[in-house]
Symmetry: C2
Subunit: 172 residues, 2 copies
């Protein structure tokens, strides 16, 4: 018998994770949501994955072959996380920060600590969620900064790493 949802959520609240804004863009405009279920799959070829609720209102905007950007938030960007986890309209969410575009075309968050600009290469449906496998086409290392972590149902700030490379775009 699988464990009940609330118990599983209580346990998952103990798995700390980086906070990210996942974006795309298409003819209907820009779309994005706050996500902590993001992880690296392999560096050869550079691939990451994002788990997304199928009932999310943004779900239909992320299809095979579409651009997708994972923007890793710095400590001071908690307000951006809150905006993209809210019920605000997409236009208002994007107004909470500054954006640019690298190669594949999804919105890249200017002040993110790192951005992974991808194309969705595979989608697996598992229960209530879609797992989006993403081929990384370009990377931005943002200004060196600390990281924003969600743990115990709260935000936490991590200090800036000692050896962080300077801001730079790769593969764009």
């Amino acid at each position: 018998m699988p464990v009940d949802r609330q118990t599983y959520r209580d346990a998952m609240a103990r798995l700390g994770a980086a906070v990210n804004i996942v974006t795309t863009a298409n003819q209907t405009g820009r779309h994005g949501f706050t996500a902590s279920a993001v992880c690296s799959v392999t560096d050869d070829p550079a691939t990451l994955l994002v788990c997304m609720n199928r009932t999310s209102r943004s779900r239909a905007q992320f299809a095979l072959g579409d651009p997708l950007c994972v923007n890793v938030l710095a400590t001071h960007q908690q307000p951006v996380s809150v905006a993209f986890a809210s019920r605000e309209a997409m236009a208002e969410r994007f107004e909470s920060a500054h954006w640019t575009v690298l190669a594949p075309g999804a919105p890249v968050l200017d002040a993110a600590i790192a951005s992974f600009d991808c194309v969705i290469s595979e989608i697996s449906e598992v229960g209530t969620h879609s797992v989006l496998f993403c081929a990384v086409q370009a990377v931005r290392l943002g200004e060196p900064a600390g990281g924003l972590i969600y743990f115990g149902r709260d935000y936490h700030a991590l200090p800036q790493a000692v050896e962080q490379a300077p801001r730079r775009d790769y593969g764009a």
Copy 2:
């Protein structure tokens, strides 16, 4: 053109993640490795995923239908992470901590902040890595404690959450 491996790794070093010991057991004994590429897929049915290097010496020990336990480390368990990321023999790795068993049969780390006892339900091969999808059969909420995070190629301690449930096993 995909980004090169070193650039991708430099950017991924900016994505903070919880540190976990992923274990299994079979007729050849107990096996485990340190993993940060772990994330929740869905709470219905409770499912998580673990990314694992196909060239890892433990890879052959994790097969479809096998037990797999994700043990989320608390702040004070950095030595356990180091042991399971080392070249030590499996027996020596397991000697670095105390273990028990819940339902599916993989080693459960006594002092973990949370343990997810699973059965491997699906495996996707992506480049150099295997993505292990795991159906969660039992959960242990460990003693309330802070979390251990890897960020900027270093360990960081997160404070204990204000509202953490007491230690308890579910579904075992």
